[in-house]
Every structure is written in structure tokens, then in C-alpha cells.
């Protein structure tokens, strides 16, 4: 095992697959010499050249559609949208075209593309650069949705996304780009199949269902509770669509107490899906307490760093929510 960053893991996944498959092309704003707004693609332009690593104009709609069109005609594009807030500009091509073209053309098309984009707050970039909009794309049949929480997962899941024959929205976590973690040696190629949640910590008293940046935070809370003798299971959903319902349901049956945590604002967030999936299953009969949700406050992400930190679930808030369940 080696220790690399989350950004590096993503870079490796792309670069390694691009070496193997000439049909993979990569396009986005400032992904070339600049290396991407968060430096994720550094070195790729130098390695693959401007035929395959393409800086685009600032035109989110067309670059998403360009990827879809290229995917429908034999390539396997990766497109980067610099901040996930700007998928607002690309939703037409993503939801109406990429997601539906296979179905509405009666199976004639396949649209094997990955749309990578960073989500989340914490960088002081305020309202229009900090959103967590995964709920939108999870609500579009035809799309798959992935949010990795560690370098290991990021690499393995991105490879699976690139090998998938469907449009996959791969939402990265800005605040994790520099976080480090273990991944196998380069020779030990691996993928992590889409649709499998990961139990990041086993426990028997309470289940926390979460994903992305909140995984680490939940694990930290779990460790603190361990010293009190409360044993928390932390499930990292990883693939939001398709969802590993079984894993959630089994854990809920085991612990009888569930807390769903995500950074996205709570109302209309994917937490509703996660909680409801558990409640509308036989796990219901094992529940000892209401299934709690803890999302971000229903406000835009503010600029001031103190406010910014407090509008999303903090360790304190997670801890308090767990206590309510006990």
C-alpha cells in the first residue's frame, strides 16, 4: 500500500485508464496546463496532449452535451465541471439527453461518460461555489451517482465509473482533495463496483448512514462514543444510485437506531431517500427510535468562515443527534 491524496487518486484513475483505452478523452475548463481548479489533473495534459486533454471554453452546457455526443459515437469521455454549482447550466444535456438517450431511442444509444465535479462547502467560496446538489442527479433515471470519501474509494470507484456504459455523475469533495489515504500499489489494479456501500466502521448500537465528507466526521464521532461504550456503525453509501439498500436495511435491523447525515441542505436532500428506504422496509419493525436525519441548514452557504462551518453538520451536531437516538 502507498499513501496518496484523494486528488492524486482521481488523477491516477483517469491516467491509468487513459493509458489503456485510447477512446477515453477528457475535457473541461482549465484542466490542461492549469491542471484544473483544484489541481486534480496536473500532469495529464503533459502526458496525453491536447488531443485527449482538452481545455474548453466556459460553456458548461455544450461541454456536457459534447461529452454525451462523443459517448454516443464511440468515445468514453470524462468531463469536468469546475464546481458542481455549475451543473445548473448543464442539467438539460445531462438529464434530458445523456440520461434519456438510451431509453428514448429504444436502446440504440449507449452513453458511457463520466461527469466529474467537486461539491461541498468549506473553502470560503460562498453561495455559488459551495453547494451539494447530488439530490438533483439522483432523481434522474439513467444516471448513476457516486461520491467517494477516501482516496482508495475515489480511485476504485472512478475506474468503475469510467468502465461503466452509462453516464455517471462522480461528485468529488473539495475539502477532501488533500486528504491522504492508502491505496494499492500501481501494479495492483483494482476497481470498486458501483452499487456497493461500505461499512467504514462496524458497530451494534447505532447506525450512521452517510457519504462524502461527512464519513470522516461521523467516524470521529463514533470513536468518541466508543469510549462511552456506545458502538456506532458507520456506513459510507459511496454509490448513491444505484443504492445498496440491502446494506442499509441490514444495519438498521442490527442496531435499531439510524441517523442519516449529509452536508447538503436537509430539505429535499438525499437523506430523505436513505431514511425512507429504511423505514419502508422490514427494518421498520426493528427500529427502536425515529430514523433521524441531519443535513445542512436550509440556507445558502455563507462566506464568513464561522458561519460556513456551522451551517453543515459539525461533530457537535452529529454527536447531539446520536444522543437523541440513545
Amino acid at each position: 500500500m502507498r499513501t496518496i491524496t484523494y486528488a492524486q487518486a482521481i488523477n491516477e484513475a483517469m491516467s491509468e485508464e487513459m493509458r489503456k483505452d485510447e477512446n477515453i478523452v477528457f475535457m473541461g475548463e482549465d484542466i490542461g496546463v492549469y491542471g484544473g481548479a483544484f489541481g486534480v489533473s496536473r500532469g495529464m495534459f503533459e502526458e496525453f496532449g491536447d488531443d485527449r486533454v482538452k481545455d474548453t471554453p466556459i460553456s458548461e452546457l455544450v461541454i456536457t452535451g459534447c461529452a454525451a455526443g462523443a459517448a454516443m459515437t464511440g468515445l468514453r469521455p470524462i468531463v469536468e465541471i469546475m464546481f458542481s454549482d455549475f451543473i445548473t447550466l448543464a442539467m438539460e444535456q445531462l438529464a434530458n439527453q445523456a440520461a434519456k438517450n438510451r431509453f428514448q431511442f429504444g436502446g440504440q444509444a449507449a452513453v458511457p461518460m463520466v461527469l466529474r465535479t467537486p461539491g461541498g462547502s468549506g473553502t470560503g467560496a460562498a453561495e455559488q461555489h459551495s453547494q451539494s446538489l447530488e439530490a438533483w442527479v439522483c432523481h434522474v433515471p439513467g444516471l448513476k451517482v457516486v461520491i467517494p470519501s477516501t482516496p482508495y474509494d475515489a480511485k476504485g470507484l472512478l475506474k468503475a465509473s469510467m468502465l461503466d456504459n452509462n453516464p455517471v455523475v462522480f461528485i468529488e469533495q473539495k475539502l477532501l482533495y488533500r486528504s491522504k489515504g492508502e491505496v494499492p500499489e500501481v501494479e495492483d489494479d483494482y476497481i470498486i463496483p458501483l452499487g456497493k456501500a461500505d461499512i467504514k466502521r462496524e458497530g451494534k448500537d447505532v447506525t450512521i448512514v452517510t457519504y462524502g465528507r461527512m464519513v470522516q466526521r461521523s467516524l470521529e464521532v463514533a470513536e468518541k462514543f466508543a469510549s462511552e461504550g456506545v458502538d456506532i456503525e458507520v456506513i459510507d453509501v459511496r454509490t448513491l444510485v444505484p443504492l445498496d439498500k440491502e446494506c442499509l436495511i441490514e444495519s438498521a435491523k442490527k442496531t435499531g437506531k439510524v441517523l442519516v447525515v449529509h452536508e447538503a441542505c436537509q430539505t429535499g436532500g438525499y437523506g430523505g431517500e436513505l431514511a425512507s428506504t429504511i423505514v419502508d422496509s422490514d427494518a421498520f419493525f426493528y427500529l427502536d427510535a425515529p430514523v433521524k436525519r441531519l443535513g445542512g441548514l436550509d440556507v445558502p452557504i455563507p462566506y464568513n468562515p464561522n458561519l460556513e462551518a456551522l451551517v453543515v453538520p459539525t461533530e457537535e451536531k452529529i454527536t447531539a443527534a446520536v444522543r437523541e437516538l440513545l
Partner: protein, 319 residues
């Protein structure tokens, strides 16, 4: 140096087939045999048929919601088009798409689009593939005057120009986007001037002259292969309402009638006869056989099975 006789015949036949197809489709609507909507291109046949017929099977097209002519020009199967219109399993989209989504990847049609301007970004991607694979083929992207006001138009033409992608952008200017006259939706009258904002060549043609459109498309293809994208505006007119239900209060009967005089089919028919290339009888035979093709298509479609609800999850995702 005119076109070979077979080409003239092909263009004429396809235009008549298209007209018959849509007139029949309109009747099926009235008979209540179709649920949904359709957009007819009657009066505009020369545009899609002139352009698509000038392409090879490996060239791609992106069709619009008003694209039967575009598809027939590209040699789509009329039976399967009709079956799709009737929502049957044998239709191009297995009955799931309807005529706003007919597609035939085997002849290079990457699909019609229900979203105004929706095909433009996709076209850049198809052309990107062609360029990336060093193919000599091009992508033709159809869209309307109304679509040229969408952001997708701008971003697509700009990207294609910046990357020198082999796309021929074909704007069917029928003077209206639904009820909205181009006079109200834009402050220009010649849409081809928009090309200059992208450093692109733009031309405007009589959209009812199928022969000229065909020939100009051949030339445009060569130009695009060598220089990158180009914008071709075809000025024409839609005879029917926008879709099923349209009282057409936004335009005068006189205007419609004036354009009916300029019928592209009549024009080509007269040319074929007057030039001595075909006799009136030969033309009649073509007309008759086209009519029969459509009857056959309806029979095929009507005899076809309905899609089954058990198959509904097919094709949401690829394996």
C-alpha cells in the same frame, strides 16, 4: 452540370413520401389513433431531404422535433418510423420515444430531439468523435430559427469553431418558432450573419429548392471537412400549425397561401417534367408508389404488437 437522373428521382420520391407520411399521420391523429403530439414539416420537405440525401451513411445527423424529412432524407425506414409514431414495439424506439425521438443509428441518425436546441451540443460531440478518429465524415445538425436563440446554439457553434469540428449547422428558418415570428424573437432578418460571431462561414439559401440545397450540401461537406464548421440557413415555411392544436392566430391566411405557391414538391415536379427528364406519367407513378409505401407502413405499424410493460426497465441503463 446537373445532377444525375437517379438523384433527381430520389429527391422527388423522398419528398413525396414525406408529404404522404405526414398527411397520413395527420389523419391518424384525427381518427384518434395516436396519443401525443407531432410536428409536421409539410412545405419544408426540400430542407431535410436536400441536405440528408447529400450525405453518406457514415455522416451523422441530429434531427429536430420537425424532422421527418431529415430522417427520410437519410434513408430511415418508413415502416419503423410509422410504427414508432403509433407507439409500437417494432418502432425505432420500441414505442418508447414517439416521433419526437426517432433515431436510426444504423443510417447515421443520432436521433430527433424534443428539446429545442437540444441536438446542438450532441452534434459537437459526434463531430468530435469523427475528428478524433480522423474520419472524413461530418455531422449535420438540424435546428430551427427559434432554436438559434437558445444558449445551446451559441455554445455549440463557438465550441465547434474553436475546435474546428466537422459540423454543418443547418438552420431551418420557417419564420416562426411556434407562434413567435422571427421579427419578434430577434433583431436580425438573416440568421446566417450569426456565423460571423464565431469566425465561421455562413450562407443562406432558398429552402424550397431541393436541387440547390443538395448541391450546396455537397459543397458544404467538402468545406467542412477541410475548414471546420459552417452555418447554412434554409429559408422556408411551415404550412401546417405548429403541432396538433394551433389556431394560427399569429399569421394570416394570405401569408400561408403565398408560401403554398412555393411548394418545393410542385417546384421539383415541374422542373422534372419541363426539363424532359420525366414524363407526367412517370411522375404519377412515383406519386402512386410513394402513397403505397405509406399505406404499407401504416399496415405494418398497425399489425405490430404494443410494447410490454414488463420490458419497461430495459434500456434505462446499459449493461
Amino acid at each position: 452540370m446537373g445532377l444525375p437522373k437517379e438523384t433527381h428521382e430520389e429527391l422527388y420520391t423522398k419528398m413525396v413520401q414525406c408529404r404522404e407520411f405526414e398527411e397520413k399521420a395527420a389523419k391518424l391523429f384525427i381518427q384518434g389513433k395516436v396519443h401525443g403530439t407531432a410536428h409536421f414539416c409539410i412545405g419544408e420537405e426540400a430542407t431535410g431531404i436536400g441536405v440528408s440525401s447529400a450525405l453518406e451513411v457514415e455522416d451523422y445527423i441530429l434531427q429536430t422535433h420537425r424532422g421527418h424529412n431529415q430522417g427520410i432524407g437519410k434513408n430511415m425506414d418508413i415502416n419503423r418510423m410509422m410504427a414508432e409514431f403509433l407507439g409500437k414495439e417494432t418502432g425505432y424506439c420500441k414505442g418508447k420515444g414517439g416521433c419526437m425521438h426517432i433515431a436510426d443509428f444504423s443510417v447515421g441518425s443520432l436521433g430527433a430531439n424534443g428539446v429545442v436546441g437540444g441536438g446542438l451540443p450532441i452534434a459537437t460531440g459526434a463531430a468530435f468523435s469523427q475528428k478524433y478518429k480522423k474520419s472524413d465524415n461530418i455531422t449535420v445538425c438540424y435546428f430551427g430559427d427559434g432554436a438559434s436563440n437558445e444558449g445551446a446554439f451559441h455554445e455549440s457553434l463557438n465550441l465547434a469553431a474553436a475546435w474546428k469540428l466537422p459540423v454543418l449547422f443547418v438552420c431551418t428558418n420557417n419564420l416562426y418558432g411556434m407562434s413567435t415570428s422571427v421579427k419578434k424573437s430577434m433583431a436580425i432578418s438573416d440568421i446566417s450573419v450569426r456565423a460571423s460571431g464565431y469566425g465561421m462561414k455562413g450562407i443562406a439559401l432558398d429552402g424550397n429548392d431541393v436541387v440547390n440545397i443538395y448541391e450546396e450540401t455537397k459543397k458544404a461537406k467538402k468545406y467542412v471537412q477541410k475548414n471546420g464548421p459552417m452555418l447554412m440557413v434554409l429559408n422556408t415555411y411551415r404550412w401546417m400549425g405548429h403541432s396538433k392544436s394551433d389556431a394560427q392566430l399569429y399569421r394570416s391566411k394570405e401569408e400561408v397561401n403565398e408560401w403554398k405557391e412555393k411548394c418545393p414538391i410542385k417546384r421539383h415536379r415541374e422542373f422534372l417534367i419541363e426539363s424532359g427528364m420525366f414524363t407526367a406519367e412517370q411522375i404519377k407513378a412515383i406519386d402512386k408508389s410513394a402513397k403505397q409505401d405509406i399505406e404499407n407502413a401504416v399496415a405494418y405499424a398497425e399489425a405490430s404488437p404494443e410494447p410490454k410493460i414488463e420490458d419497461i426497465f430495459d434500456d434505462v441503463y446499459a449493461d
